[in-house]
Symmetry: C2
Subunit: 256 residues, 2 copies
């Protein structure tokens, strides 16, 4: 058996994966935050990303169901609250904030939530995340959430870049991200603590590293699909949103 | 309730989906059979397509497990035999024939079967098919196989085009397809019969039509991913096969 990595070595390995494979390295992200994307490319991004947003509370509920310890479950439950909103007095959550963004970009809520305009590739990638947290060990499921180690910095780039470059984006429509930044810090610290505690062998640590690679590949594949369909001249698959074709997807009073 | 479609109307609808959404309409297929793809694009296609080939017997076993009738199960079992080979005296099946093709293209078998060089998007799409046949009704699972109605014609185009255009492809390496043509005809006739018999309402028929659309979107997404990574100048995701980078994926003695 190979020697177990020290906590510091393990975290260095995790961060090295983020440094090379996290989607802040993707050309589509660079184009977004530098203001090189057209409004339709930003629209396509927000429309497609909903497929990912929507599965987050579901995957968190699935992970919660697999955590044996009540403290762990309570901790993890906060993630569902963050996305679905509080039960009673403050019915605001990440999903609603995301829909506020797609609304400002001109999409009808029902069109976004139906996902009929999303690229099939986006749905396949997002759903692969659901399958992963069901089929793999709970350790791997928790480790796959560690992309949040890297999300605060991509969020800063995204928000600053989009506010600077696009008149059609306002601070208000980006509240999703202002919440996520602190949530992601809290969550990734906890998850890191969890996997440090539960990865008992080098083999466990390797499973965690692979889980993080897998998760990076999902986020990456979603940007690949957007780039292909809306920037590089690849096909827009049959039935996916096509900005060239007049449809009822966009409200009429949208100003560009 | 909307009126149920006659058998003929139903089949017309199914065929209309194939006519517009089957992957014989995809530019990557056109480029392949016209000989416009480079050898590396053909390699990437065969390497990635293995991810789809490998799940076929698994998804067929899953469907078989859900068929209540022994006759139906026996019928469906033939599909597993076609891909995995006979148990005893003739250990040849579709999977081996596919690996003969990737071998002729220069890939080591272990590299192909490890799938470490495949695009994550391909794996997400192929695995979405597995999830579909587990989560949806058996009627929808059977209906999703109906892309085989359209496969004999794409196979003819592919085989003729590739033999005409590429010296590195021989008839022998394409035996996978010569077998598939007759198998697909037999299977799709049976599946069509099955869904005609079991789709009792218009709603059932709509579920079948959507299952076929879903399946077309999987095949389409796989070609989108190839086009993006290997033709349109999109990214080759981290760790996926990159023809520009010398690796141990290709055997040394491959002639171009």
């Amino acid at each position: 058996m190979t020697t177990k990595l020290s906590r510091q070595q393990f975290e260095t390995e995790l961060k090295a994966i983020g440094a090379s494979q996290y989607h802040n390295n993707h050309p589509y992200h660079h184009r977004m935050h530098k203001g090189h994307c057209s409004i339709d490319e930003i629209r396509a991004w927000a429309l497609n990303r909903f497929c990912y947003q929507r599965i987050i509370p579901t995957k968190d509920a699935l992970i919660m169901a697999r955590l044996d310890d009540v403290e762990d479950r309570r901790e993890w439950r906060q993630r569902v609250v963050d996305h679905d909103g509080e039960i009673a007095d403050h019915p605001e959550g990440g999903l609603r904030r995301w829909l506020a963004l797609t609304r400002q970009l001109g999409f009808d809520k029902s069109y976004v939530t139906s996902m009929k305009g999303a690229l099939p590739a986006t749905q396949f990638a997002a759903n692969a995340y659901l399958t992963f947290v069901q089929e793999r060990s709970v350790l791997e499921a928790v480790a796959s959430s560690l992309t949040e180690l890297f999300s605060p910095s991509i969020i800063v780039e995204r928000v600053q870049g989009m506010l600077n470059s696009y008149d059609f984006i306002t601070e208000e429509s980006l509240t999703y991200f202002s919440y996520r930044k602190s949530q992601a810090n809290r969550d990734s610290n906890w998850a890191l603590e969890y996997i440090d505690r539960h990865a008992g062998t080098r083999e466990d640590q390797e499973l965690c590293l692979n889980a993080l690679r897998f998760k990076c590949s999902i986020l990456w594949a979603m940007l690949d699909a957007l780039a292909s369909a809306y920037h590089l001249g690849g096909t827009i698959p049959p039935e996916a949103w096509n900005p060239e074709i007049k449809s009822d997807a966009l409200r009429d009073n949208v100003s560009e």
